[in-house]
């Protein structure tokens, strides 16, 4: 009886703790939004974060995009040629990247590269009392530290996803057209004719923007909420990567369901 009581007590405590933390994250998000004005009034703050989370993520995004495109080219050709439609390689590569792989894989990479870095930076600032020092200088850390990082991430994400997609298409072209010999005219013409800006490209942009909000929010919140010790910051970074990955995949399913036109 004691064991059952304890079992439910632990579950209850954990549930309350998680709901409380979710509420805290929501309040943090709203407070950060209400303190976002300074980020746009002082573009230098935003530019610095665009550089940190956007420009510094370029290498991993472009190289990964290229390899994903190369693999898509090989696998796509292998499947399509069985049905005698290898000319459709361009459309397969483009739609896979624009609608799904571009936003999702770029967001996963963004969470690992820029998200973890944001959490580490904010968490260490907290552990070394830099956030408290700023607050005691009458400078709100939400406005000066969190909001610029959040908006830097939100604006970087769609641009990185677009570059990932472009690198992927280039990889698909390299394998399909240059190495395998698929007709170049068919490769580009099929892509041009079948990729719709509104249904494919625009939906991809919406997805990457939503992922950008989710990952950046998780990253700054985990840093802000980190236990101010070396172990606490390390745990916060792990939580950022894991929670972001799960959030990206779950949101991708929800967004794809809304955008689905198959029925």
């Amino acid at each position: 009886m004691r064991l059952i009581e304890r079992f439910f007590s632990v579950i209850g405590a954990n549930t309350i703790d998680r709901v409380w933390r979710l509420g805290f994250a929501a309040r943090f998000f709203l407070a950060m939004l209400s303190h976002s004005g300074e980020t746009f009034r002082r573009p230098r703050l935003l530019l610095r974060e665009l550089y940190a989370s956007g420009v510094l993520s370029l290498i991993i995004i472009l190289v990964s995009g290229l390899f994903v495109g190369l693999v898509l080219g090989l696998q796509g050709y292998d499947t399509l040629q069985r049905y005698g439609s290898s000319e459709a390689l361009g459309i397969l590569v483009a739609l896979s990247l624009v609608r799904e792989l571009g936003p999702v894989v770029a967001a996963l990479l963004f969470a690992s590269r820029a998200g973890s870095s944001m959490t580490a930076e904010v968490g260490l600032m907290k552990a070394t009392e830099q956030l408290t020092a700023m607050d005691m200088m009458a400078v709100n850390p939400l406005a000066r530290i969190m909001a610029p990082r959040f908006w830097g991430g939100v604006l970087s994400m769609p641009l990185l996803a677009a570059l990932f997609t472009a690198a992927g298409i280039f990889g698909g072209w390299l394998i399909g057209v240059i190495f395998i010999g698929v007709d170049e005219g068919a490769f580009w013409a099929q892509m041009q004719a079948n990729v719709s800006f509104r249904d494919d490209v625009f939906n991809g942009i919406i997805k990457s923007a939503v992922f950008g909000v989710a990952v950046s929010l998780i990253a700054v919140f985990e840093g802000f909420d980190a236990v101010p010790t070396a172990e606490g910051v390390s745990r916060a970074i792990t939580r950022t990567v894991v929670t972001s990955a799960l959030a990206i995949l779950a949101l991708d399913f929800v967004l794809t369901s809304f955008m689905f036109r198959g029925l």
Partner: protein, 283 residues
């Protein structure tokens, strides 16, 4: 009418001159069920350097955080410049903090900014001074702490003592009326410790600021402060000028000032009887 206005003005000036800058009455504070401070009464006179001393965990830093408005008391009153801190909204609290400087235990310098930019930070955030004026002010502050030559170094390139002096320069960048020092001597070598103590005294006098120093370093503190409050177990247990405390026979003050290992603050953490515990283990 003019005369009346004059009288009122003089009264106001007299009131401000005689009123303590920080006034604490019957203050209680707890983290959840754990009582940290009980019935604290304290008055910090304007333009004076006051030390709050006591052993680790006695609630000194919590008291400093309460004065800075980082946390709110559960009961009692805490006034800074005549205003109840716990009633401030965010804008009013930041207004008070603009007239306040704080030196943190380990400096809390911004690690991505140079020494120069660390000190320029509050000036750039709160003033509209041209960059040339900010440069001159920063150099003057650095000169005051003897580190003008280190302006372009990064915090990672500084020794512990130098970092503390830079943090001190940053805390007085806006010429504050109230300066809070949280354990300013922790981890410093004797030379750095003496330099910091002297600088704290000099800067307090030069700015005419009200300074509060939380510390457990008896000898350096008694040499520079005007008044001392002693805390133990979240309560105020004694107070006086350094001269009074050096000859005090109060058991707690005596134990603290003369660094006695046992006294009102026990050497042993509370535990069961040793013999009983050993016999229980043998059985």
């Amino acid at each position: 009418m003019i005369e009346l206005a004059g009288i009122h003005k003089t009264d106001e000036i007299l009131r401000l001159m005689t009123t303590p800058y920080v006034e604490i009455n019957g203050l209680d504070f707890a983290y959840g069920d754990r009582q940290i401070l009980s019935g604290i009464d304290m008055q910090l006179p304007k333009g004076k350097l006051t030390a709050i001393m006591g052993g680790s965990g006695c609630g000194k830093t919590t008291l400093l955080r309460l004065i800075g408005g980082q946390i709110k008391p559960d009961r009692g009153s805490l006034k800074v410049a005549g205003h109840e801190v716990s009633r401030f909204n965010e804008r009013e609290l930041y207004g008070m903090r603009r007239r306040m400087g704080m030196l943190f235990q380990f400096g809390a310098l911004f690690t991505d900014l140079s020494v120069f930019d660390n000190i320029a930070f509050p000036l750039r955030e709160h003033t509209r001074l041209p960059e040339s004026a900010i440069r001159d002010l920063v150099l003057l502050k650095l000169e005051a702490v003897g580190l003008r030559g280190a302006a372009q170094l990064m915090p990672a390139e500084l020794s512990g003592g130098m970092a503390r002096r830079v943090a001190l320069a940053r805390s007085v960048a806006l010429d504050p009326e109230l300066i809070l020092f949280d354990e300013p001597f922790t981890g410093l070598d004797p030379i750095s410790l003496s330099i910091i103590a002297t600088l704290i005294r000099r800067l307090t006098d030069a700015l005419g600021a009200t300074s509060v120093m939380v510390t457990h370093d008896v000898h350096e503190s008694l040499a520079v402060v005007d008044y001392v409050y002693f805390m133990a177990g979240g309560r105020m247990v004694g107070s006086g000028t350094p001269a009074e405390l050096r000859v005090s026979t109060d058991p707690y003050v005596y134990q603290f000032v003369h660094a006695q290992p046992d006294g009102p603050v026990h050497f042993h953490y509370p535990a069961d009887n040793l013999d009983e515990q050993l016999l229980a283990g043998a059985a």
